[in-house]
Subunit: 317 residues, 2 copies
């Protein structure tokens, strides 16, 4: 485990709790000392930890912020050039590109556990952080399905369910359901704050809900939104188009039915997807169409919930 | 009480619970029968109830949806042309204009209790709905402060605190902190729904928070947003400007710091207003500067919490 903050520290705890031999490294002496004090095998010697992983054919998990990924990948390319590799970063295409540049011979398979809290650092972590959460595990045309299996096994060990996706599909959907919400919350908070103490006195549920994530640490929000620039731009344009259409309609006819009805129906459609009855599925990783089957499952909102040898079990709506 | 839905029904209950003689009327036989079954004095004869209010110099409270306000005001202008009059509609300038057209001799003072639930109808009401809530009571240059006092007394009897504001100031701030959040939630729900079952499978806290109010009944959202067209347009333009600036910055430099930092700081500024220490204030309605004092108090986020004769007590940050 490279990086022992909230996510990395929680993965290290969860992997250890599942009976795995796991060790961690981070440049942060605070997090290292806290991890050691809690009984974990942790060091500030990142290169050494990577080398050790290479020697033992361990799975290397990058859990550093996106801006630090390239530096750590260069270390991996140098000290464990053919290792099994995953990461837990919230955007996947930029990391995939960086792996191809800095550690092209690693057996890389990107991941994104979709869990977190407002807190950060080793002290905020818990082995139960991923319990019941979705953990995206990416599969590209050239992904080694053996590596995919190892990363999925870690996610399942941590109590998550696995959503198989292409990196590009991941980035597109998180732009929609995570990064755009953060930008809209920021805009709403700014517009609200311009209303001063009176706005503060009268703001209630709709404003509180709509601005909640604007309380997230700005550097975290910047890292994920700026890091997902390519996928976020078209989604931001969709939102601008819809908001501009509402503005035009309100100014011209005075009506907002199209905007409001579409939002209401959209929310109902999403609820319907979420509550649809699910049927069980099996995917044999040894079958010739395994990759296509996995990706189709993920695109349809399905999930992998178990692993027995090379046979995955899951469900889809 | 004209209108016995969620708000009107709750005001009737709260006024009765405070020891007032109160009666209600609505064209809805369902709500009338439910109110009568609960022991309240209710009728479907709206004109008769208005006439009775005029004869007894009672305070008439309009609690009908905005699209029905003009019709009921015509009845008031005909059957109780000089009565004390307030309303509980969520926009204030359009109602003030309608009063000036249809019932110009009434002693009108607009109100907006800022409470509600996702439910509607008499059955959803409760006398405690307004407990601890803000209730805006409007004061214009020509508002009779005696009428203002009566409306404020009703709000205080219902357990609310009173925020004195000009109708235009009310409409501007609710556009900012209530109507814009509804439009942004609708846009976000539409953009999210375009992501299909995968978006439903991965959407978590930020999306759920940002779209929650898109679940509100569309006709209610339309009534308040379309009804507040004049005040909402410039606020919508502010939001479009900020979102467009974010888009431009992401496309050109790749940076979103200005957007994200401003949102974070805005939220902190609002929290600071909300938690600022408050000092007690007194406003004597008989004083020559009473109106200016009240309006300054409201604009600064202050509130009236008590009434003793003509002396109001309150607090401001």
């Amino acid at each position: 485990m490279i990086g022992l903050g909230l996510i990395g520290g929680s993965v290290l705890r969860a992997a250890s709790a599942a009976g795995r031999t796991a060790w961690g490294a981070t440049r942060s002496t605070v997090d290292t000392e806290a991890a050691v004090a809690d009984g974990y095998d942790a060091t500030t010697d990142v290169a050494g930890a990577v080398r050790r992983a290479g020697e033992r054919d361990a799975l290397v998990v990058l859990a550093v912020p996106l801006p630090a990924v390239e530096d750590v990948l260069a270390l991996v390319g140098e000290h464990a050039p053919e290792c099994l590799l995953t990461d837990v970063t919230s955007v996947k295409m930029p990391v995939l590109d960086a792996v191809r540049r800095h550690a092209p011979r690693t057996r890389y398979c990107g991941g994104h556990p979709m869990a977190g809290t407002a807190l950060s650092g080793w002290a905020a972590g818990t082995p139960a952080l991923f319990s019941g959460a979705a953990w995206v595990v990416c599969a590209e045309e050239d992904t080694d399905l053996g590596a995919w299996r190892e990363v999925a096994a870690l996610a399942l060990d941590a109590g998550a369910h696995v959503v198989p996706l292409r990196a590009a599909a991941h980035d597109e959907v998180v732009a929609r359901i995570s990064h755009l919400p953060h930008l809209l919350a920021a805009v709403l908070a700014s517009v609200g704050a311009y209303g001063g103490p009176l706005a503060a006195a009268l703001a209630a549920g709709s404003f509180a809900d709509g601005t909640r994530v604007a309380g997230t640490r700005p550097e975290l929000v910047r890292a994920m939104t700026e890091g997902n620039r390519a996928a976020l731009l078209p989604v931001l344009d969709e939102a601008l188009g819809k908001l501009g259409a509402a503005r035009g309609s309100l100014a011209s006819t005075g009506g907002l039915a199209a905007t409001i009805d579409a939002g209401h129906e959209g929310l109902q459609r999403l609820d319907k997807h979420r509550t649809a009855p699910r049927t069980g599925v099996r995917v044999d990783l040894g079958a010739p169409d395994a990759r296509d089957g996995l990706l189709a499952l993920g695109e349809r909102g399905g999930r992998i919930t178990g692993l027995d040898g090379d046979v995955l079990t899951g469900e889809v709506g």
